[in-house]
């Protein structure tokens, strides 16, 4: 049965529908693969084999009764532990939420269960989604299934959705949810040779997702290929009255309209993304991507996004500012950890609880956010950043007058060794240099595997589209996927 875990969303759903195998057999195969791999990979904080089995049994019963099956019928997925799941611990990989059991289900996870998916477990991540390597989790590092040729050092699966990327790449989940604030779906997808899409801001409801930076946070799928991403995004997206920024738009049939025929399409190559000292393998894969899109019929156009270099510093004001406000809710009163020193008053309890419950990166960002929002500094930092954000979004608007989609590398390097960048916050932040601008502008963007670098590690290519044009992004992604013919997978060592 182990070969069932080689299948992605479309293959499982279609196989279950045709009766080639049962959903229960699929769930059992993935549950076994998770149990075997998780001690080594640490991709899941908790596993929920019973949830996966119960969902599968409902699908098998529905099929036996001749009832219509959902878009994800029989597909076992991993759920990033940032989504509230009813009755299942939800921690955001933090100590402050350890033991928190939501009495409600997030909108996105509920939609996935309604579509027939089952949950293998809650996936590890950077604490409160703050990180690019999964090293800020309170539940330990996730180890990437990938290793460089001739080197057994543990590598970062990317972050913040590092449990998601590791689980999909290791074939212990058919697909996984991710969330992306500045690149947290796309960079881990690139590091592990899988596909992931962040849709237009507002496509997926944020209700029930632990908030990091609310004007940037978006959920999206991480899966084996572009088609699986399209199918899963259809199930996740849609209007939700419980999220005030939810888009009240119909969800297009992205998977049915997939096409890698790009005749007439204009692809922009932003010159500012050719940063000084760009990794040679990354530069080569970008050139490969340009050639593949031309081969698919697209016309390639040089474009300029002049404020690109200001995107990261803008992000590192806006995201911490929103985080400092959002994370004010963790006070030891209503849920989560409480640290009440002997004789402490209310204020002391807040400060002690937050000192004990937040990790160092989370504290660092709360402190930065508090500072840039404080009296006397608000205009110089926060207002200035919001103005530069307007200029960054305007750059994209201008570019999309000339082109339909933009191609860049996803990340400036392949996966690095764990511990290599964790001492220097600024160096870690630079991982998101290519992914952050699209986040600041709310645009749909995805990463697809492009090939391996000289160390044998995956590299991703990044496509950015117009607002609401997930289809354009997915189609260009499909064109790259078909031409890159990326079939490499990590050799099993776990």
């Amino acid at each position: 049965m182990s070969e069932l875990t080689d299948l992605g969303i479309a293959a499982i759903r279609d196989g279950v529908a045709k009766g080639d195998f049962t959903a229960t057999e699929v769930a059992q195969a993935f549950n076994a693969a998770v149990a075997e791999a998780n001690p080594a990979l640490n991709a899941f904080i908790v596993t929920t084999p019973d949830h996966a089995l119960a969902a599968a049994q409902r699908v098998d019963a529905a099929r036996a009764a001749g009832q219509p099956l959902g878009k994800l019928a029989g597909v076992p997925i991993g759920m990033k532990d940032l989504f509230a799941t009813k009755g299942v611990q939800t921690t955001a990989a933090s100590h402050i939420l350890e033991g928190f059991v939501p009495p409600y289900e997030s909108t996105v996870s509920q939609r996935l269960w309604d579509a027939g998916a089952g949950m293998l477990g809650k996936l590890n991540l950077d604490q409160f989604a703050m990180g690019s390597s999964n090293e800020t989790s309170a539940f330990g590092n996730v180890i990437s299934p990938w290793r460089a040729a001739g080197d057994n050092a543990g590598r970062a699966p990317g972050g913040s959705s590092g449990g998601s990327s590791a689980a999909v790449a290791a074939r212990i989940a058919a697909a996984a949810t991710g969330t992306d604030t500045g690149g947290s779906i796309r960079q881990p997808a690139a590091f592990t040779g899988i596909s992931g899409i962040k849709p237009t801001y507002g496509r997926c409801s944020r209700w029930g997702i632990v908030a990091f930076a609310s004007s940037l946070d978006q959920a999206g799928p991480m899966a084996r290929d572009v088609t699986d991403c399209a199918i899963m995004l259809e199930a996740m997206a849609g209007f939700d009255a419980k999220d005030s920024t939810s888009l009240d738009l119909p969800v297009p049939a992205w998977s049915a309209q997939l096409s890698d025929d790009l005749k007439g399409l204009k692809v922009g190559i932003p010159r500012e993304y050719r940063i000084d000292g760009l990794n040679a393998d990354v530069a080569k894969s970008w050139d490969d991507g340009i050639a593949w899109l031309k081969d698919a019929g697209a016309q390639v156009v040089d474009i300029s996004l002049p404020h690109t270099r200001y995107a990261l510093p803008t992000y590192y004001i806006i995201a911490p500012a929103e985080a400092s406000s959002n994370l004010a809710r963790y006070d030891g009163v209503r849920y989560g950890l409480r640290d009440l020193p002997e004789g402490a008053g209310l204020q002391d309890m807040y400060a002690a609880t937050r000192a004990a419950g937040f990790g160092s990166e989370v504290k660092r960002r709360i402190m930065i956010g508090t500072y840039v929002l404080s009296a006397g500094f608000y205009d110089a930092y926060y207002t200035q950043a919001q103005k530069v954000r307007t200029l960054i979004a305007r750059d994209f608007e201008e570019a999309f007058r000339q082109v339909d989609v933009i191609l860049t590398p996803t990340a400036p390097s392949a996966a690095f060794v764990l511990g290599q960048k964790s001492d220097d916050p600024l160096e870690m932040y630079l991982n998101d240099v290519f992914s952050v601008p699209a986040s600041l502008a709310g645009l749909p963007a995805m990463s697809v595997p492009a090939g391996l670098d000289r160390q044998g590690l995956p590299l991703g290519l990044h496509l950015i589209g117009r607002p609401f044009d997930e289809q354009g992004v997915l189609n260009a992604g499909l064109a790259i996927e078909r031409r890159a013919a990326f079939t490499a997978r990590p050799e099993k060592w776990w």
Partner: protein, 100 residues
């Protein structure tokens, strides 16, 4: 702009995070490194540019003014609200004594 240890202590107090003197000393160069880096935004000419308020244009909606319209978020779910509280007492959140 840069911060001194006293500034870091003030920020930590505003953020309600208890910090030791050693933690303050460690945070000063880290925060100054980040602040020096974001300071480059000051060189951008933003004359006449409005700060962004909504990344994708959207209209704020009002929900129907009906009590309990959504059974989950509409109220009358006290026990569910208190279920994760570190100290729930007599149907309330318990906290240390606030008023002497």
């Amino acid at each position: 702009m840069s911060v001194a240890p006293a500034d870091v202590a003030k920020i930590a107090s505003l953020a309600r995070i208890k910090v030791t003197q050693a933690e303050i000393e460690a945070m000063v160069p880290e925060l100054n490194g980040i602040l020096a880096w974001v300071d480059q935004l000051g060189e951008v000419d933003v004359t006449g540019v409005e700060p962004m308020t909504a990344v994708i244009p959207n209209q704020l909606r009002l929900r129907a003014d009906v009590v309990g319209a959504d059974p989950l978020t509409g109220g009358n779910v006290r026990d569910a609200v208190l279920a994760n509280a570190p100290a729930a007492e007599h149907g309330f959140f318990g906290v240390p004594k606030v008023i002497e």
